[in-house]
């Protein structure tokens, strides 16, 4: 069995699966249950000055009858006294010394506040700190959470204040509610962050009730934007992790968060540069027990690949992620329909006909049987047909033998500019 242990900026964990700071890590009781179920670490529900919560806090979107494709919440940071949380952290760490407990922190943006809270939580024996610069709702209206996290200078300054007194590694949790996350990630590094984690939740309004016209969720007939997460946000999160991972000036470990629902998602995040992952929505949907398959599936995957330690996969796909200008313009694929597997639903035809490049024909053979065929010469290799196809293996996207040597847009433009210069020389 592969070694699943990770070391994220000095924080040791028996496996890469941590519970993110959120309702599942609200209390010692919950975190201990999670550790018993197998979670490698837990980021405690954000600590700070006491707040008040509202009733009616979560909502989710269903897609084609599947529940919790996306999830949002308007719950704030912990509403339990700091003393109680600290006592439970101490007890939990004592019971589970080998599991990682990270304290998520959010305070007003002053040096004193940061110094005070960092000292108090480190006194009870946490393994690390996560600065919450990400929550988009509620706390942001008071200048905290994403209100801080959207301003690189504030991220840098507050990270610096925390680092002034911190003895344990400091992770800075970033908000996705910003045009370019690498700007704040870089600021965190400038402030001395030992690691960054992303993404926090995305600004969202889950829905509007068609009968009452109230927002979903609503609190006595009124709603406010909440933080969006769950499977639907995974591609957004994965991109942000990848952008930070390939950024030359962001050189700290990344804790990946955002829609991770199973071991496969975790592997993707790790391949794209995450050292470990954090999970929330999947646990809220199914309970802590889902970690068993996450561990088992990851372990079997690594064994099948002949990889002895999960750390070996970290960042292995980062070099394959680049700018559009670096993609080969002379690479071509076309769709190939396997008529023995095809069930003739014709979804590929209508998708291509109406919305892509009109290259899939509906034909009838000599025996009167319907079949579908791609006109290779008109296929641009967009993948749409294979995406809408409901049957695995019915449509393959196959590489066309290349006629021209690889050339990217950037190479093409560079070559053209040389040609222009040459021309200028000629006319001179």
């Amino acid at each position: 069995m592969a070694d699943l242990r990770i070391n994220l900026a000095g924080i040791q964990s028996p496996n890469p699966f941590w519970l993110a700071s959120a309702p599942p890590t609200n209390s010692g009781y919950q975190v201990q249950r999670a550790f018993e179920a197998g979670w490698g670490g837990a980021v405690w529900k954000t600590l700070g000055d006491p707040i008040l919560n509202v009733s009616s806090r979560f909502a989710a979107s269903s897609f084609n009858g599947k529940r919790v494709a996306g999830f949002n919440n308007i719950e704030l940071i912990t509403d339990r006294p700091l003393d109680v949380n600290l006592k439970e952290i101490y007890e939990t760490k004592k019971k589970f010394p080998n599991h990682a407990i990270i304290a998520s922190l959010m305070v007003e943006p002053t040096q004193e506040k940061w110094h005070e809270i960092v000292k108090r939580v480190e006194d009870v024996g946490v393994d690390g700190l996560e600065l919450n610069f990400g929550c988009p709702h509620g706390m942001a209206e008071r200048g905290m959470g994403s209100a801080s996290g959207q301003v690189p200078a504030l991220v840098e300054r507050q990270t610096y204040w925390a680092k002034e007194v911190a003895k344990t590694p400091v992770i800075v949790k970033l908000t996705p509610n910003i045009t370019d996350i690498t700007a704040t990630a870089e600021a965190a590094c400038q402030g001395g962050a030992d690691a960054i984690s992303m993404i926090n939740t995305i600004n969202s309004l889950m829905g509007v009730d068609l009968d009452s016209w109230n927002t979903i969720p609503h609190v006595a007939g009124k709603g406010a934007h909440g933080g969006y997460c769950g499977p639907a946000v995974k591609p957004i999160a994965l991109n942000m992790v990848a952008e930070c991972a390939r950024h030359p000036r962001i050189n700290v470990p990344i804790s990946g968060i955002g829609g991770i629902s199973n071991w496969q998602d975790a592997v993707e995040f790790m391949l794209m540069g995450a050292t470990g992952v954090q999970v929330c929505t999947a646990a809220m949907h199914h309970g802590f027990r889902i970690v068993e398959d996450m561990i088992d599936g990851l372990s079997n995957y690594l064994d099948q690949k002949g990889i002895s330690s999960v750390s070996e996969i970290i960042g292995k796909s980062v070099s394959r992620f680049s700018d559009w200008g670096n993609l080969d313009l002379n690479y071509n694929i076309v769709a190939q329909i396997n008529n023995d597997v095809c069930i003739n639903c014709n979804k590929c035809h209508i998708a291509c006909e109406d919305t892509s490049h009109q290259c899939i024909d509906m034909l009838t053979d000599s025996s009167g049987k319907s079949y579908l065929k791609v006109r290779d010469e008109d296929c641009v290799g967009c993948n749409l047909c294979s995406i809408v196809c409901p049957v695995d293996g019915a449509i393959d996207m196959v590489e066309v033998p290349r006629e021209l040597a690889p050339m990217t847009w950037n190479e093409r433009q560079a070559a053209l500019s040389v040609a222009v210069e040459c021309q200028a020389d000629v006319t001179k």
């Binding site: 009858g65 069930i343 003739n344 639903c345 014709n346 979804k347 035809h349 209508i350 409901p390 049957v391």
Partner: protein, 456 residues
């Protein structure tokens, strides 16, 4: 099938035995199943439906929560779509054509169709409006599936339609001929009601040729549609048919759908002669009326029987016994003139007949007697020859001759559809086929007056 909690047959409460057996889909089930539909383009299920219901569209509308739209999509193509959702042999039609047969399991199209139409019934929806009157009149003789379907489409096209119905209620087979535990009457009545709301006049208890003359009809209406279906079960041609306790299966089933259920069959032994759809209905009704033992006697074998597989399965689960290669020779009565037994003869299969099925031949000396209290005859139905001839229409053994596609008879003003044009060896006489023929006739009539085409 029947809920596990309810025993299948009760001898104490016969009414319960006639409640619909199949439970409709729950909201959750309908959601899951409708979302499973691939929403095929140019879907094979549509082509497999004799009425061409746009199945992917009505299923998509269930998934989106647009149940009114879904019911309209169904009923616009099939005026008896609520009944058909229950009685169609879906595994041989739409569900049999579902592309998911090739990868997982077909979509439960029939059940989803029932879900959408049940919603319309429960919410008392009126789905269609009459067309602007064009001043033309059409008489429809027979208010069954074919007649209702024709009337519905004509009314939408602006015709003034009158249906002449011999029974006290319209709906024909759907109202009286299909057992209540598969098709409750209220479903058929709702479909009749939908047609009535288009200003169609339905004159029940009106037998053409008795209560109104054939001439009066041909004089009073621009066009006539003959959709009278078939008549009673023919005689077996054996001794003892006049005895008390010998029933015509059509009448027998009809009695279970008209008022009080008879208590006379509790604990009795019944044989049903024949193995078609009506025979199965006769047998399962007997069981549900409390009969202690019900046997189906059929002169051919399981292979040749015309009942659908699901009907056969249903009958077996009800406890009906099947005696293959067995023909009645004589019905035996007691001194009170009541059935007390039936003498049967064993058969074997001989040469193939023109319809492809092998001819049953009696085995001499194999006679034996089964003690029974009732005999239900279900060996097909006779034709309304007299009426057809009164209209002066060409026919072949009571099957009205019609022009392919238009269903026009030898009299150009008269059209015919449904069972009255259904001849042997022409596939299944299905409700859904009758519904489509009714539509076709309506369009053919309309085309006479407006050759530009039909707005459907």
């Amino acid at each position: 099938m029947a809920s596990e909690k309810i025993p299948r047959i009760s001898l104490m409460d016969l009414e319960m035995n006639f409640l619909e057996v199949e439970q409709g889909l729950t909201n959750q089930e309908a959601m899951e199943e409708s979302n499973r539909c691939l929403y095929c383009y140019d879907a094979p299920c549509i082509k497999a439906c004799p009425t061409g219901i746009d199945i992917p569209t009505f299923i998509k509308k269930i998934a989106s929560g647009n149940l009114l739209g879904s019911a309209k999509t169904i009923m616009s193509s099939n005026p008896v779509g609520a009944s058909c959702s229950r009685v169609c042999p879906t595994e041989e039609l739409c569900e049999g054509a579902c592309v998911l047969n090739h990868s997982t399991n077909p979509i439960m199209i029939g059940n989803l169709q029932r879900y959408a139409t049940d919603w319309a019934i429960q919410n008392e929806q009126t789905l269609f409006q009459p067309g602007v009157s064009n001043g033309r009149t059409v008489a429809v003789i027979g208010g069954g599936p074919a007649g209702l379907s024709a009337a519905r489409e004509l009314a939408r096209l602006g015709y003034e339609v009158t249906i002449f119905e011999a029974a006290d209620k319209a709906g024909g087979l759907n109202t009286f001929g299909i057992v209540s535990f598969r098709l409750p009457q209220k479903i058929s009545f709702w479909e009749v009601e939908q047609v009535k709301k288009l200003n169609v006049t339905i004159r029940t208890n009106t037998v053409v040729g008795r209560d109104i003359s054939v001439d009066k009809i041909t004089e009073d209406f621009d066009n006539v549609i003959l959709a009278v279906g078939m008549a009673h079960v023919p005689n077996l041609g054996v001794e003892g048919e006049e005895l008390k306790g010998v029933y015509d299966a059509i009448e027998f089933v009809k009695a279970t759908k008209s008022g009080q259920l008879s208590q006379d069959f509790v604990g009795k032994r019944v044989v049903v002669i024949g193995a078609g759809n009506t025979a199965i209905d006769g047998a399962t009704c007997s069981i549900r009326l409390g009969a202690e033992n019900v046997k189906i006697l059929y002169r051919r074998t399981e292979e040749e029987m015309t009942a659908y597989d699901f009907e056969y399965e249903f009958a077996k689960q009800d406890g009906v016994e099947f005696r293959w290669l067995t023909a009645p020779k004589r019905i035996i009565g007691n001194s009170l003139g009541h059935v007390m037994g039936i003498e049967c003869i064993k058969m074997k299969l001989g040469e193939a007949e023109p319809d492809g099925r092998r001819r049953p031949v009696p085995i001499e000396g194999s006679e034996y007697v089964i003690p029974v209290d009732a005999v239900v005859k279900a060996i097909g139905q006779t034709r309304h020859k007299e009426l057809i001839e009164a209209f002066g229409l060409q026919h072949n053994g009571g099957v009205v001759t019609v022009e392919l596609g238009t269903f026009r008879t030898s009299n150009p003003a008269i059209f015919a559809c449904g069972d009255v044009v259904f001849g042997k060896g022409k596939g299944d006489a299905m409700v859904v086929t009758a519904a489509q023929q009714g539509k076709d006739v309506a369009y053919a009539i309309h085309k006479q007056y407006s050759p530009v085409g039909v707005v459907n």
